[in-house]
Subunit: 503 residues, 2 copies
């Protein structure tokens, strides 16, 4: 594969000088257009050690307008990163709309290093390559331009450079930490790199192989390639949204044929005050203890609350958090994104809130807004919400792989109960602020929401992050159910087989 | 001091039940007003171990609307925090306008722990107390409401609780990590706490001592105190801005009496092309080497570029970064803040950009905007920009204490040179975008800017972060001067006595 980058191509000083001003001007122009159009650009810079990745990026930075360009290097994984799902460290560096993130190595270097140094096997590599393809696809679907450079040097040239630098006191320091030992592993490095490049060289995120032996050739090629990638992306119409057909069978029109999962719930379930009190008495200390055990075991928990308006999310969250120590959890109410959030991929603001190992994040509404309110109200296009099921499953799988317990609750009430609660809220002084015109409008679209909820539960109920559908017409029953499920799930995850807490 | 919190006060269940609904309603109302008015609320929760800080915060969280409330615990300092100035970890948790940050322990717990466990001496404590007073003052001046709770338990009660929890399997886990050993150190803990509280109990940020023996008394007191603090702050008119008189002597009106530091610069200094090339040949590898040495020594660098419009900041930065490896530095161009930044203290967005140990952040414009453009254009009130000198010195002192090298450059050109450059920019295609109407407007206020720059240099030129005023009419001269100063300062900081790089 790399023969194409060992042709000995070069650019003379004179040619470089002639080409540079035009290229620079064109790059600035393209960058400005990209900013106006809100295009986020992710430039991945990978390649063999000693190829001058740093020098090439320096040149690009010189050509570009530094406003809105950020470079990121991922050498040492910090403990804040280690204590979160693998991809968190990349999400936190994703460019906002109109900005450019230059990422050195990123997910590719990590994978190659894990293979070469930490003994990840071929199967593990395969799984990660699949994850990479999925994430890149998602970033691109989300509107980003992803440009991937691979800088190549022939074996002799790499050895020559490393040796020369080792000897030359002036440039001795001019080497990234990994460069020095690189030459010895050229063969095995290239062999894994070949697989990685081949399997991630997709139509929508191709690799650009750049011959790096001659610096001027390397830099001009990089600049022109980046330019063309931006220009092509900007000149094409909005990426065509191919709406996949729904996998759900088309149901007959009659009412009895439209029964959903939600209709089969027994909403009459309830607890009286004494039963409720007794259940709390057992569950409160148990959950508290599990919170501390999870903290000690460095086990993270993500709890998602979704449900009809007035379904009792807030109350259920409050009962759950009463049992937990305030230092261990955070409640994140999800409303409209602020402008920093709105300028990123829709999942970015949730990645941002992922708890560190040992802590809990409790979401009052969540990323499921994409397939609920955004679908029903038309804030997301059909293509967007349709692919969101898959994106969300992928996202939650990453949490689960890291060892996070993911709990998802749908609090279900019927239309009459909702009306009763709306009316009651208007009467209770400290609840009045919770009822808005929007709630009444949403209520008009009850059936649309029902269909959306039904599809959401079908498509995103996974073994690693199942939905718990809670009959919530009776608040006491719903709250205890939530606490019971949290407690049982956690006990299982933590290997706590001692339901009475006697240890 | 603590006698006042050992009176055995309590609230009956009935009284609590009666008081709670009104308090809750009032708190919600106050919180909503605070949000509307954009008031950031910082609630510090400190006190003796076992007093139920977590339980009390849980109660407050139950009463408040969870939107915009975040709790922060500072148990384990992460390496990302350790590798930045001490206060960075608190700045990253500061509430945005209208939000509430509940901080457990925060800077107080750290100080007390350092004294008790790490042998920081009385003098060290005194220095940190002074820092605390200064930072709290700055937060309050910046518009925040700071509420400080100290939860107290008598010695016997603490011992009893710790013992009871140790024995009770149900609540064994119900203890923050630090609680268990606390009882043994009650005396020494209280003695340092007394000093800390006394010396930070300032008029604008008083401590509220809360008797925590009875839970209902504790929670009601906390809720009512928080309520009163918010109400008082909202009902008072905007905090009166006391404009301190300038310390600068009033100068006679004649032109010759108005000479500033900037007038004494020799702007005729220049380098010819050959001198420039030769200097670069020596400086480029040297700075590259120092960058890598700094990386290995985990030494952070902050470089600030300020200067007249068209003073050549961008060009000087580009020459400097050409020498550095792209993976080691980040250039941060400072323009108008985004809305997340604008909703915080003006220094927040710069704290956010502080490099980790081993890396560089290069600011193209900086926090000095506060005393330059914001002063001249009237975006900051006189009281705001006047106190900014002190705030900035304090900020930079914190960087220096952590071991960051702070380099500040003012690139100075005269009015004629500026006009020449403005005209030239209009002609150069890839520079045209750099010249705006605003630049022409600023030019009209040349003398106001000159006065502001002069005062800035006088008031913020410190031994730990001196200003370097660079005659910049000749670009080559200015660029080499900058690189020379960077290189010499770094060599000194790193103990690199080998100017030729022969090692």
């Amino acid at each position: 594969m790399f023969e194409a980058a060992e042709l000995g191509r070069s650019v003379s000083k004179a040619d470089f000088k002639q080409a540079e001003p035009d290229l620079r001007l064109a790059l600035l122009h393209a960058q400005r257009l990209a900013r106006q159009r809100g295009l986020p650009v992710i430039l991945l810079v990978c390649g063999v050690a000693g190829a001058g990745k740093g020098a090439m990026v320096n040149r690009l930075l010189e050509w570009l307008d530094s406003r809105g360009v950020q470079t990121h290097v991922f050498w040492d994984e910090t403990d804040e990163e280690l204590q979160r799902p693998r991809w968190w460290r990349y999400w936190r560096k994703m460019p906002a709309a109109g900005n450019v993130s230059v990422m050195f190595g990123a997910w590719y270097s990590r994978l190659i290093q894990e293979f070469l140094q930490q003994g990840v096997d071929a199967e593990g590599v395969g799984a990660e390559l699949e994850r990479i393809r999925a994430v890149e696809q998602m970033l691109i679907d989300g509107g980003a331009l992803l440009v991937k450079f691979w800088l190549h040097l022939p074996r002799d040239e790499q050895a020559r450079r490393v040796e020369k630098r080792r000897k030359d006191p002036q440039s001795h320091w001019h080497m990234a930490p990994e460069t020095a030992q690189a030459a010895e592993h050229y063969g095995s490095f290239l062999s894994i790199a070949t697989r990685v490049i081949r399997e991630t060289d997709t139509g929508h995120a191709p690799w650009y192989l750049i011959e790096a032996t001659d610096q001027r050739f390397r830099d001009l090629t990089a600049g022109k390639t980046l330019l063309r990638a931006i220009e092509t992306r900007l000149s094409s119409a909005e990426p065509r949204e191919t709406v996949r057909t729904s996998h759900a069978p088309a149901l007959p029109d009659s009412a009895s044929a439209q029964v959903t999962i939600l209709d089969q719930l027994d909403l009459s379930l309830q607890l009286d005050r004494a039963e409720y009190k007794q259940a709390r008495k057992a569950l409160d200390p148990r959950i508290n203890r599990l919170g501390w055990r999870g903290f000690e075991a460095r086990h993270a928990v993500v709890v998602v609350f979704e449900g009809s308006d007035a379904g009792g999310k807030g109350g259920a969250i409050r009962r759950l958090t009463e049992a937990l120590d305030a230092r261990l959890y955070r409640v994140v109410p999800v409303a409209a994104p602020n402008d920093e959030e709105a300028s990123h991929h829709y999942l970015w603001r949730f990645w941002r809130q992922m708890p560190r190992d040992g802590y809990w994040t409790i979401f009052d509404r969540s990323w499921y807004g994409r397939v609920l309110v955004e679908r029903v109200e038309g804030f997301a296009t059909e293509a967007e919400w349709r692919r969101a099921y898959h994106e969300i499953n992928n996202f939650e799988a990453q949490l689960a792989e890291h060892g996070v317990t993911v709990l998802k609750f749908w609090l279900s009430i019927d239309r009459d109960e909702q009306l009763r609660r709306f009316e009651a809220r208007k009467e209770t002084p400290y609840k009045k602020h919770k009822i808005t015109d929007e709630d009444w409008r949403n209520r008009e679209r009850w059936d649309d929401y029902k269909a959306a909820v039904n599809e959401m539960i079908i498509r995103t109920g996974t073994e690693y992050a199942p939905w718990h559908i809670i009959p919530a017409n009776d608040k006491r029953y719903a709250r205890i159910e939530v606490m019971r499920i949290v407690s049982e799930t956690l006990a299982q995850a933590l290997g706590d087989d001692d339901p009475k807490g006697q240890r």
